[in-house]
């Protein structure tokens, strides 16, 4: 297969895996938190938060990417702040690609987790509370384990999205080989040149193969979990 993909393409594959995995893992805690807030919280501005979470879905990816560029770019307010205080530079780095993918996958992650949290029987949470578990503990020892299927589904959606996302990525961090050129960006580039179809197809198949592996792994884990918590 090494012969089948050029070294740059291998780089893109590796980078995509890195970006998708990072995006998935890094957005997980925030996604679960937001999902919990939306599922169980009662606070002012909940609808606003809900809309905000859905924004990357509603807006064309290019717009999302552009807003990221404005906000998190080297000269953007958040980007400058992060760079200055934490030394985190996102613009035109793979970390920025991960951010873009995380943002794009966020609504999917949140929705899946939220649905699962809403399906958790509150009576069990009450029972845990009565047995001495504080709300935070209840969340970690009852709610979270019971909504693992949703967390898993959200993660795989986020991962798959990250494997396919390029509109926001290319707009935010460009398409620099070895740094920000993920598989979808590479595929996109192929579609823009005469005779690029073959290359695009090849890379698409690679992307599908990777996602399929991730999907199978997640289904397998979900089955394991499902067997454990079947009532």
């Amino acid at each position: 297969m090494t012969g089948w993909l050029s070294p740059e393409e291998w780089t893109a594959v590796r980078l995509s895996l890195l970006v998708a995995t990072t995006a998935m893992i890094a957005s997980l805690p925030f996604g679960v938190l937001v999902a919990w807030l939306l599922a169980r919280g009662r606070f002012w501005g909940k609808s606003a938060l809900d809309t905000l979470v859905h924004l990357p879905l509603i807006m064309p990816p290019v717009v999302t990417g552009y807003l990221l560029l404005i906000g998190f770019g080297r000269r953007g307010p958040i980007g400058a702040f992060l760079a200055e205080h934490f030394g985190i530079v996102l613009s035109f780095r793979w970390t920025g690609a991960a951010l873009a993918c995380a943002v794009m996958g966020f609504p999917l992650l949140v929705r899946a987790v939220r649905l699962s949290i809403e399906a958790v029987d509150r009576k069990l949470e009450d029972a845990a509370g009565a047995l001495g578990a504080s709300p935070v503990w209840v969340f970690f020892v009852v709610t979270l384990p019971l909504c693992l299927p949703g967390v898993l589904a959200g993660m795989i959606l986020c991962f798959a999205k990250a494997m396919g996302e390029f509109g926001a990525t290319i707009t935010f961090v460009s398409n620099i080989p070895g740094e920000t050129q993920t598989l979808p960006s590479a595929i996109y580039t192929f579609t823009q040149i005469p005779g690029g179809e073959g290359g695009a197809l090849r890379l698409t198949l690679v992307s599908i193969a990777i996602s399929m592996a991730a999907l199978l792994a997640s289904e397998w884990m979900a089955r394991l979990i499902g067997r454990k918590i079947a009532v």
């Binding site: 009576k123 029972a127 845990a128 503990w137 019971l146 918590i229 079947a230 009532v231």
Partner: protein, 373 residues
């Protein structure tokens, strides 16, 4: 000393409204009442799962909630062991982890009052420890739920029909353990049950609910001997409760002798010190009335008394008459057919002998049974 349980709460839910006020000095307070009378709601208020609209709940002098003073201790700080009406086991945890759940959250350092091995043993769930709750039978779930509550080392135990789906043999094994907890560990218990026998055996105070209101509350003996208190089923379980003092044991026959105001009583053997007081219950239908003392009969207990009142009953079953007999100041209730009443010419003032078999005498709270196993 403050009351063990001091409840005065108001709570509306839908068309139903709970409006319950009572104090209980008993270590085990039984909640009694028909289906839908508000027992679970009241227990949930005590547990903190439901917030009362008004009022307060105090347990052993500790304020759990007082809406007027704005106090509301969150449920996880109440140190409660709650056996829910439905088991509510955690489906993702093994039976063992379900049982140990409460321990994770009990404050460190304090010694645990309930012993894991022993509890598991008494509940007969030793073989299930590594199972998932989903693979348990109904009664097994219930037992694990009881174990989970007991093992959480609670300062207050709420039990909502905990033994409903268990067989008699199992009940007989679990009851003494609850008694032990009540007496030795000193954990106050609120116990919901439809079984008069259970209530009579365990509780010292009974609170009777009807349509969300307390219609009767007081010492178990008082409440259970009220004839035809409609809320407690009316039917077969009417009876009288007597205070008795242990005066000796007849080890040869496995009997315990006790003195009551009505007279001497022989009952199935107990581990109770001489001088200990206990309560016994005699069902109205178990009491045989005769005009003369019975001779050569397999009933060891006979009391002489005077008929005080006759109350005809037309409830479930057949017409019968509940006869109140004053035996040395103790009021006994006997249920007889109208025919017998006529044959014996029962009327207030008539002198009768009331006879009951030892095996029919239930001894109640205040003494533990000889080990059942």
């Amino acid at each position: 000393m403050s009351a063990v349980l001091d409840v005065d709460v108001v709570r509306r839910q839908g068309a139903f409204s709970l409006n319950a006020a009572f104090r209980s000095d008993g270590r085990l307070t039984a909640l009694f009442g028909r289906s839908g009378s508000g027992k679970t709601t009241l227990v949930n208020v005590i547990a903190g799962l439901i917030r009362p609209d008004h009022g307060r709940v105090l347990v052993d002098g500790r304020v759990l909630v007082d809406r007027e003073r704005g106090i509301l201790i969150p449920k996880h700080r109440r140190r409660i062991g709650y056996v829910f009406q439905e088991a509510r086991l955690f489906p993702h945890l093994s039976v063992r982890r379900n049982l140990l759940f409460g321990r994770w959250f009990a404050p460190r350092g304090e010694p645990m009052r309930a012993d894991f091995e022993k509890t598991v043993d008494i509940l007969g769930i030793g073989a299930l420890l590594d199972r998932a709750p989903g693979a348990l039978s109904g009664g097994e779930k219930q037992r694990v739920a009881i174990g989970r509550a007991l093992l959480s080392d609670p300062r207050l135990l709420l039990m909502d029909e905990p033994l409903a789906s268990l067989d008699d043999a199992r009940k007989l094994e679990i009851l003494p353990y609850i008694e032990l907890l009540r007496d030795q560990a000193g954990v106050p218990i609120v116990y919901v049950s439809h079984s008069v026998a259970e209530v009579a055996r365990l509780s010292t105070v009974v609170v009777v609910l009807d349509e969300g209101k307390v219609v009767a509350a007081g010492a178990t003996s008082d409440i259970l001997s009220r004839i035809d208190a409609p809320v407690i089923g009316g039917g077969p379980e009417a009876g009288s409760v007597l205070e008795a003092e242990v005066i000796g044991h007849d080890r040869a026959f496995g009997l315990t002798q006790a003195r009551t105001r009505a007279g001497l009583l022989q009952l199935p053997g107990l581990f109770a010190a001489v001088g200990a007081t206990l309560r016994v219950r005699i069902l109205a239908s178990d009491l045989l009335l005769s005009l003369n003392p019975l001779q050569q009969v397999s009933a060891l207990n006979s009391f002489r008394g005077v008929v005080r009142a006759l109350s005809p009953r037309l409830a479930a079953g057949a017409p019968s008459i509940d006869v109140q007999i004053d035996c040395g100041g103790e009021l006994l209730i006997a249920r007889v057919t109208a025919k017998s009443s006529e044959l014996l010419a029962l009327a207030p003032g008539r002198e009768v002998y009331a006879t009951v078999k030892s095996v029919s005498v239930d001894s109640l709270a205040g003494a533990s049974y000889e080990g059942a196993r």
